[in-house]
């Protein structure tokens, strides 16, 4: 961070022969040896005590104990070599780095675990081209699949996106461009709604759609429940993006005599396009994984249903819910649940990758194709 060397203030004054240069972030053999020694020593000690001497069991407990022992050992070894300040500095550094890495491993582990266990079901092609209509608890994995759930997820998320994007972006425009007294409560409610208990959205649609209007469970009801969960997410993310649009662009457009409608339509929205797309894709990624809202209102079926307006329609999360939880009676069902988890994780990963790829650009930054088109137009003009 501070790269400048300290210069003596008065060059003429007599100086100590060579001022030792302060090295930030140095790696010394002692430092490395202490870290490695602490880690290995803790591993050995915990292994002996945990697995051999004391009646403990469980991988999780093992690593927790390892972490605590490691920090303690390291602190003890550091205290032998350095002064108190240095010890605190080093121990906190090691504790945060080791803790952060352990956490990331656990948090990433859930995705890897699902991918690994899902693989046994996913490697059969039938998994992607069949529904569960002809598969029972004892059917081998070559019969039956998630086709009906993939269709259901695709249709429901498409409907939910169609509904929530216009309303969400409009609400975000209201917050960012119109403002006023009403904007504050709307913004607070939107932020609070992004963490709405997911089951409440399903309950609301159940109360409105099925109990009050007397309609039947269907893919449309599930899409509406997803709409309720996605709307605040899209609104909030879009508002953040719209705020990044430079005010000078707006002022330039106003100075040319544009109306606000024109400014928003021709300046703000195109400038924020990549960010808005990211917001929408992230909202979709959230919506696709929601189980609780669709659980109550979409109904359960084993068969392919292309029509979201009529009859029960299963989606991927609901499929997992059924086969890995409610009906988890055989290993084949559980494997199918994990298989659907595999597909779901992949879909979310792809959506996320798209969002990162789009969101890497600052507002107004043009893609290569846009720049080429602009250049062509300039040449023509």
């Amino acid at each position: 961070m501070l790269q400048q060397e300290s210069r003596p203030a008065a060059p003429s004054a007599p100086l100590p022969a060579v001022e030792p240069r302060v090295l930030l972030r140095r790696v010394t053999p002692e430092g490395v040896a202490t870290v490695v020694g602490g880690a290995v020593g803790a591993l050995g000690l915990v292994w002996v005590l945990y697995e051999r001497v004391l009646p403990f069991s469980g991988v999780l407990g093992f690593w927790l104990c390892w972490y605590a022992t490691f920090i303690a050992l390291y602190a003890a070894m550091a205290a032998l070599q350095w002064d108190k300040r240095e010890v605190i500095h080093r121990v906190t550094t090691v504790a945060f780095v080791a803790g952060g890495v352990l956490t990331l491993v656990i948090v990433l582990g859930q995705v890897l675990y699902t991918l690994l266990r899902g693989f046994s079901a996913v490697r059969h092609l039938s998994f992607f081209i069949q529904s569960m209509a002809f598969a029972g608890p004892d059917s081998p994995l070559v019969i039956g699949g998630v086709l009906h759930a993939m269709i259901g997820t695709a249709e429901q998320i498409a409907l939910a996106t169609l509904l929530s994007v216009p309303l969400g972006v409009a609400a975000a425009l209201f917050l960012a461009e119109v403002g006023g007294l009403l904007a504050r409560p709307v913004r607070i409610i939107v932020e609070a709604m992004t963490a709405l208990p997911d089951v409440i959205a399903g309950l609301f649609i159940y109360a409105l759609f099925i109990l009050t209007l007397g309609l039947h469970k269907s893919g449309l009801a599930a899409a509406l429940a997803l709409f309720v969960t996605m709307l605040p997410i899209i609104t909030r993310a879009s508002e953040v993006v719209l705020r990044l649009v430079p005010g000078t662009l707006r002022e330039a457009a106003y100075a040319l005599g544009s109306s606000q409608r024109r400014v928003v339509w021709n300046v703000v929205l195109p400038t924020a396009r990549s960010g808005l797309t990211t917001a929408v894709v992230l909202g979709m990624a959230r919506g696709i994984g929601e189980t609780a809202p669709v659980l109550i209102v979409s109904g359960v079926t084993k068969e392919l249903n292309y029509n979201p307006l009529q009859g029960p329609q299963v989606s991927l999360p609901l499929y997992i819910w059924n086969y890995a939880h409610i009906e988890a009676v055989t290993n084949s069902y559980i494997a199918r649940g994990f298989g659907a988890g595999f597909v779901l994780v992949l879909v979310v990963l792809v959506l996320f990758a798209i969002a990162r790829w789009l969101g890497g650009k600052a507002p107004g930054e043009l893609s290569r194709r846009q720049r080429r088109r602009l250049a062509r137009e300039r040449v023509r003009a």
């Binding site: 948090v107 709604m193 208990p197 997911d198 999360p317 890995a324 979310v348 996320f352």
Partner: protein, 331 residues
């Protein structure tokens, strides 16, 4: 003060009054946008209204005893959330006790300790994890974590059993540890950690560069800098992130449903099998429920909704304030 000395103003000198004329088109445009904003408010209100309307029969049947009854017998009108809601709070508390230190430490690791080249990747990773479907966490929790937590639970019950919360009244058989509030709390914490990490990391990275360098210039070590600059600046953000995590933990449905074995008595022995939460009740009962039970579930849902809305709103206000810099004073 200058009015007396000033020469008489001519018409040309007077500042022109600026009239902002909003054209009819713009007025419609702004109206439409405002309508969208109002629609969001209406939707939130609509959720409350519909849940309230649907829960009227339940309140007609049991009245305010709904909040003091801990059993769930629909036909004899003895049902309430006196056990269910506190059990859900218990799960959320366990989740937060794990997730807050771990999440904050991970956030500090990413924003302060990780090499700058890795930082972007780590941020993307944590954001991805915050968007992982809860059903994936539930799968991981039920099939991977739960069998591996039982050992920790048995250890806690054995050696820390004198602490009332860890007390264990059943026989020491591993089946008695399955599906406990503790396991559910741990699984929910896996869900909450990325949320807390992601939000507090944003706040930490906003700690001003000037103050950081000032701390270093005064001879501070990195930990000293974090303690005196980053943490004080991020305090409001940390509180807000933790509260959003609390809201998320209270409202979690799928993960707790996968894990819990349902009970209807208030059991503070978190290691013992059995727990409950309104979300779990709704998810597991509503498909087979009669009209009175549906109404009871709606009432439970409304209680949960009001509670999380309060928690989340307070969290949103705290986070907003920290963003605007109103409380960003390092004391």
């Amino acid at each position: 003060m200058a009015a007396a000395d000033a020469p008489a103003l001519t018409d040309d000198d007077r500042p022109r009054t600026i009239v902002v004329r909003v054209s009819p088109g713009d007025r419609i445009f702004r109206g439409v946008l405002r309508g969208a904003g109002i629609a969001v408010l209406v939707m939130t209100a609509g959720i409350l209204v519909f849940l309230a309307l649907q829960s009227v029969p339940a309140f007609k049947a049991v009245g305010l005893r709904f909040f003091t009854t801990s059993t769930w017998f629909i036909s004899t009108n003895q049902f309430g959330i006196a056990a269910i809601l506190p059990l859900a709070v218990l799960i959320a508390l366990i989740a937060l006790i794990i997730a807050i230190p771990v999440g904050l430490a991970t956030a500090l690791f990413i924003s302060e300790y990780a090499p700058p080249r890795l930082r972007r990747t780590l941020i993307a990773m944590i954001d991805l994890m915050a968007a992982t479907p809860s059903i994936i966490v539930a799968l991981f929790g039920l099939y991977f974590l739960m069998p591996r937590i039982l050992g920790v639970e048995a250890w806690l019950a054995h050696h820390l059993g004198f602490i009332p919360v860890f007390g264990f009244t059943k026989s020491n058989f591993s089946g008695n540890y399955v599906g406990s509030t503790f396991v559910a709390g741990v699984v929910v914490s896996v869900l909450v950690i990325p949320i807390i990490t992601s939000l507090s990391r944003q706040v930490f990275s906003q700690a001003p560069q000037g103050e950081r360098e000032a701390a270093y210039a005064l001879g501070s070590t990195r930990w000293g800098m974090i303690r005196t600059v980053v943490l004080p600046y991020g305090r409001a953000g940390m509180i807000g992130a933790s509260m959003l995590g609390l809201g998320r933990a209270l409202g979690e449905t799928v993960a707790v449903s996968f894990i819990l074995t349902p009970i209807f008595t208030l059991n503070f022995h978190v290691l013992e099998a059995g727990g409950n939460s309104p979300t779990f009740m709704i998810a597991s009962h509503i498909l087979e429920a009669g009209s009175k039970e549906i109404s009871a579930l709606m009432a439970a849902g409304m209680a949960l909704f009001v509670m999380t809305l309060l928690v989340n709103t307070v969290a949103a206000i705290i986070i907003n304030r920290s963003r605007s810099g109103a409380t960003a004073s390092a004391d």
